[in-house]
Subunit: 187 residues, 2 copies
Amino acid sequence: MRQTKRDELVRKALETFYRNGFHATGMDLVAAETGVSKTSMYKHFRTKEDLIVAVLRLRDENFRNWLYRRMEELADTPREQLIAMFDALEEWFAEPGYKGCMFIKASSEYQESDHPIHRQSADHKSMLEAHITQLADRAALADPGTLARQLLLLKEGAIVTAHLGHTDNPAQDAKAAALQVLDAHTR
Amino acid sequence: MRQTKRDELVRKALETFYRNGFHATGMDLVAAETGVSKTSMYKHFRTKEDLIVAVLRLRDENFRNWLYRRMEELADTPREQLIAMFDALEEWFAEPGYKGCMFIKASSEYQESDHPIHRQSADHKSMLEAHITQLADRAALADPGTLARQLLLLKEGAIVTAHLGHTDNPAQDAKAAALQVLDAHTR
DNA sequence: GACATAATGAACTGATCGGTACACCTTGAT
DNA sequence: ATCAAGGTGTACCGATCAGTTCATTATGTC
């Protein structure tokens, strides 16, 4: 039952890393912002990178749960849920602290493809792809694998474009494109 | 004519920052890899961030020149050139040292939207958007502004997906989606 | 040959980096 | 009352960070 303190550390570290970046955030700042002593932090995690991996695991769980739930709340059929993904994204982009995708940023700061942090980020994207493919399949759409990857290209594009901030409403641009791509996969 | 040394510094610093990341690269490493003494570096640029801005300016020039030229080489009509963008991207992704988009990474490491580095990155994307919009207009396609933004969403998505590396050929997935989006904008 | 300009190497500053050492405190179960 | 587990605060380690100082060396112009 004493998992609490460790969980709190990871939860608050997530916010700090998300807001501040990985290399730009020192472990002293993490300690200060989580309220957990450096000594304890290093009892739970041997290195900073281990902590980041744990943070990404939590982020993966949170984000996928949120996105899947929101898609189901916004639409009833699998086909409509695929499109609703972009309305969910629009909500996310509108949040005050929106700072892009944590996994894209993580893989940008830890670039070697065999680095645990990079791998963890790629795994997150793979799990998303599997879920969306399954949804496209249930919607009886042609070539569900390709379709899922294409919808996710639009998603990733919208995420980084929303973060760059040079464009008004990338989520709705993506949604319109998604409708057209989805039409092309309808027999 | 003595612009040479400064140019060489910026050119080589670009490689170092691209390969290594921004925060992860110290100025001592930049000095070592460029062969320019730290003293000289700081005569040309007051701060590290000033150097990074100069690097991004060069990158913007190089990348836009390369992409526009390649699109023209690969296709004759504006419409075909829009699609050829994704073949050009595929070539880029296949290069040995491919490490994603320098501007996405820069804006991820300098997140505040009014930071000069973030601004510079957003400006690069805006200039791309203007060019692609113009091309869509010359191709007599409906709603060229929206179409351009949608094609660029696919481009950004393909860039980050290629860097994550969990997918086979994001450039061709994007190209297929682009064809469908483009069809929808054909009257 | 004198002179300004540009560049160099190397040592240095104070701050911060990731990570450790150590002595102390709190908690709950026995 | 005791004991172990988990947590704390503080000071510290050597390395590296961005940026500076300074004396020296090329370079080309007049």
